[in-house]
Symmetry: C2
Subunit: 192 residues, 2 copies
Amino acid sequence: MQANDVKNAKVALFLADGCEEIEALTVYDLLFRSSIPVTLISITDSLLVTSSHGVRITADTTIGDIDFDEFDMLVLPGGLPGTTNLGSCTLLTDKVKEFYACGKQIAAICAAPSVFAKLGLLDGRKATCNPSFENVLAENGALLTKEAVTVSDNVTTSQGMGTAIAFGLSIVEHYKGKEAADDLGRKVLYYR
Amino acid sequence: MQANDVKNAKVALFLADGCEEIEALTVYDLLFRSSIPVTLISITDSLLVTSSHGVRITADTTIGDIDFDEFDMLVLPGGLPGTTNLGSCTLLTDKVKEFYACGKQIAAICAAPSVFAKLGLLDGRKATCNPSFENVLAENGALLTKEAVTVSDNVTTSQGMGTAIAFGLSIVEHYKGKEAADDLGRKVLYYR
């Protein structure tokens, strides 16, 4: 796979109350280690986000304070009710549709691919998600792969907390190529 | 493996500035999902901890406000300078030695097994850690296994961010048995 121009890489990672902390922060961790700019963005007016398991995380900024045009990729972690909260944020979902339509990257893991599905973005497209949300994807025309990670054009989806490293590495691969992603996987002892 | 009495389970997870956020919170996540009580404890007077990658996490309490006797296990995440900070906290290292001596559980991942090594707790004992800290363990008499996770009596050690789920599941197994740990591993899509 050809690596994309990392100079253009700037990833927006959205934190909702009730997000799955590992799905969110594993992506952050791997991008940080790869020197790919990544911003933790609260979808409310408060920087403080409480995860689905009660972990309190302080975001870098809030959705009202960012310029979406500065970003190249939007990432949605799963968790409940985090995914429901992401799907209810029309500022975010409008931008997800816009990014999709203009060929910019969108990515989601666990329950969060259901947000893409409900927006009609997975119709006729290969995708994966947490098994408990496969019905939502199927009802909206997705072609379920049941893979850990599925990359389909500009849409990346993944299954859950246990596939978060694979998901994060696929984003690293998008920007820096397979060799860099594999090197990082070995460095963090994911590949042993 | 015989599961230990989960009624006695109460896990203290120590957060230092500079800790590796995924190594810390993956353990928290898996114990939370298993209904094993786990407390995020800052080793300073401040609840706010900043990870090695700049993620701001609010701990549940601080080391000065806990009663160590209430806990059954002490867990040390890695990361730098988090591990150095953990090793410099004599209140913590005194309690690590005490837990070790009375047969209570101690666990560490990535760089943090070096804290156990420097306290002399790994002399002649099987252990694992991040490859860049193997020299510290070897110099202090540890028998390096190079495994993802090594359980040796009441001492559990693990290699790094990419083995954090295996590390967390080994703690779940300690309290709830192999079947429960395997079930959780499948539920989070780690085993697929």
